[in-house]
């Protein structure tokens, strides 16, 4: 069965003076039309890099060193830049974390929206303006005509993120990659933005890859989750399944660490002891083993493969498979 997006054994390395460092070590997942995938993990696990890798925008000195990224069956990981530009911002849009830093402060919203359209479609400015207004209305921005001639600093954080979402909708993309879209926003606005995203993806039938460290957000919005640790996916499956019954010890730790989850009042917050290793210190065998409570000898020497457990769940753990 052919998927809208298929990431196969993606490998990303950073070319440093002291040698190449592996940041993403064999990541695979699929996304179908209208599907919402959550890519979850701590900072440094490699989720953002994966997101950037899909549209081939990894910052130097990073580069894709292996694997394939199939979009509608075509491998876009090795596409040349000018062909890639037809996909980037057009078929696959990306939303960044901090809307204040993402919009260019010296250009109006209108300019930044119209230029996106004109970069991908042969249309007149007037037509582009129409489409821009349409999308602004879709994200519930009041008086959109006025907004087009305003500058980013004239808006609140929540409005700015809506504008960014509007920009990402301009070309009616097939997939939106949202990299920590609500981390920089107030909690109340977070909920609004996530609701908006979910609603739009449903109504426009767009695929969503939600990259975040926030399990609560992911469980509200997505249908399936892939949990990343130290550059690999260690568990993936349906969102509800994973949240209610995490199988990998790391995922279990994450769920347990959520306040308000399984805790009774007065109980201490659960923590996973230790820290995720940095790229240079990844231990041999399973990367999680130093912090794992159920580990065994084999965990310290052999890398566990991401295996199907028969019930639609993929787990990378010697002890759970």
């Amino acid at each position: 069965m052919s998927h809208l997006l298929e990431v196969k054994d993606l490998e990303v390395k950073f070319a440093l003076r002291s040698g190449d460092l592996t940041a993403i070590n064999g990541v695979s997942f699929t996304l179908d039309k209208g599907e919402k995938l959550g890519l979850v993990g701590e900072s440094g696990a490699g989720k953002s890099v994966t997101g950037f890798a899909i549209i081939n925008l990894i910052s130097k000195p990073g580069f894709i060193s292996g694997g394939k990224i199939l979009f509608n069956g075509e491998d876009i990981s090795s596409m040349n830049d000018s062909k890639m530009r037809n996909i980037r911002g057009d078929r696959i849009s990306m939303i960044f974390q901090d809307p204040m830093m993402t919009l260019n402060p010296v250009f109006t919203i209108g300019t930044q929206m119209i230029e996106t359209l004109q970069a991908h479609r042969q249309i007149s400015k007037a037509h582009a303006k129409e489409i821009a207004l349409e999308k602004l209305k879709k994200v519930y921005i009041p008086s959109p005509e006025k907004r087009l001639s305003q500058y980013p600093h004239e808006f609140s954080g929540g409005m700015r993120q809506r504008i960014i979402i509007a920009i990402s909708l301009l070309t009616d993309p097939a997939i939106i990659i949202a990299d920590e879209p609500t981390t920089a926003l107030d909690v109340t606005i977070q909920a609004e933005i996530m609701d908006l995203l979910r609603e739009l993806c449903d109504s426009e039938e767009m695929g969503l890859i939600l990259i975040t460290h926030d399990l609560a957000v992911v469980s509200e919005v997505t249908e399936k989750i892939a949990v990343m640790y130290a550059g690999r996916i260690i568990e993936s499956g349906a969102t509800n399944d994973i949240v209610n019954d995490p199988r990998h010890p790391y995922t279990a730790g994450l769920i347990r660490a959520l306040p308000g989850g399984v805790l009774k009042p007065g109980e201490k917050l659960h923590q996973i002891p230790g820290m995720m290793p940095t790229l240079t210190d990844i231990p041999p065998g399973c990367a999680f083993n130093p912090r794992c409570l159920i580990k065994n000898g084999i965990c310290e020497s052999e890398l566990p493969g991401l295996l199907d457990n028969g019930h639609g769940r993929m787990i990378a753990c010697h002890m759970r498979n």
Partner: protein, 326 residues
Amino acid sequence: MFAFIIRRIAQAIFVMLVISLIGFAIKNKIGDPVRDMVGERVTPQERAQIRQKLGLNDPFISQYIRFVDHAVHGDLGLSFFYKKPALDVIIEKAPATMEMVIGAGLLIILISLPLGIYTSLKPRTFFSRFVMGFSTLGVSVPVFLTAIMLIYIFGVQLHWLPSYGRGKTVDVFGNGWWMSGFFTADGLKHLILPCISLASIELPLFIRLIRSEMMEVLETDYIKYAWAKGLSPMRIWLVHAFKNTLLPVITVFGVQIGIMFAFTILTETVFQWQGMGYMFLEAVERSDTSLLIAYLVVVGSVFVIVNTVVDIIYGFINPTIRIAGR
């Protein structure tokens, strides 16, 4: 925005008053207005009379106020040497200096922008490294040496370009004031070496500035976002990155124009260029205090005005200031 402009102008006026105070204080202490007016051969009684008539025995403050009052009406005293109002002398000599500064300014814009942008986009190429190395060298060579060496190579050895003077000039306004070298081939030939010398002070600075600003801008999230939107590289570099780079560069440009005026003193000396700088040195040699002070006041005011105008223009172009106020 309006408040911003008012504040800047008030600041400017304050600084100009300070300049005028310093200038006046110096003039009061060392200048000899009597000599300026009637020369040296005066009897002591006549001298005392004239001093009384000129109000030179009045308290400092009232003399100062009179000075400012005169200055605002265009009277900055008499030049002892030229036997003319100092301001007239300065105005006469100004076009020569201005042409050099304008020429140098144009050169700077035409050269530093492309080079600065190129070295920021492709920093590791041989050409970029060469440009940066050359600019370090440029910063280490004082302007008068650059001028001398240019004269030596192009004037004395190769005989391609003239070594001094302005060449044939043309009367632009028909009233004898602005004698321009821009409109004659000979005048232009005479302008080349001086403008290059003057530009050489600022070029390394601007190339480096544009390059480092551009490199910083290119690392920002909004540029990364522009790439994610799939915009073309040309648009990202020359529209997005460039505008953000340009803003801080403009303020520097304003300040540097002022500095270039200072360096015209050196350049005009080398090229025997009959402008304000040359006039200043002659005034020093001749102890022509009025002219010196007039020069200080005029040039000082020019700096202040240029800086203020540049700040205000910056306020207009930068939308975060224009709309939200400061």
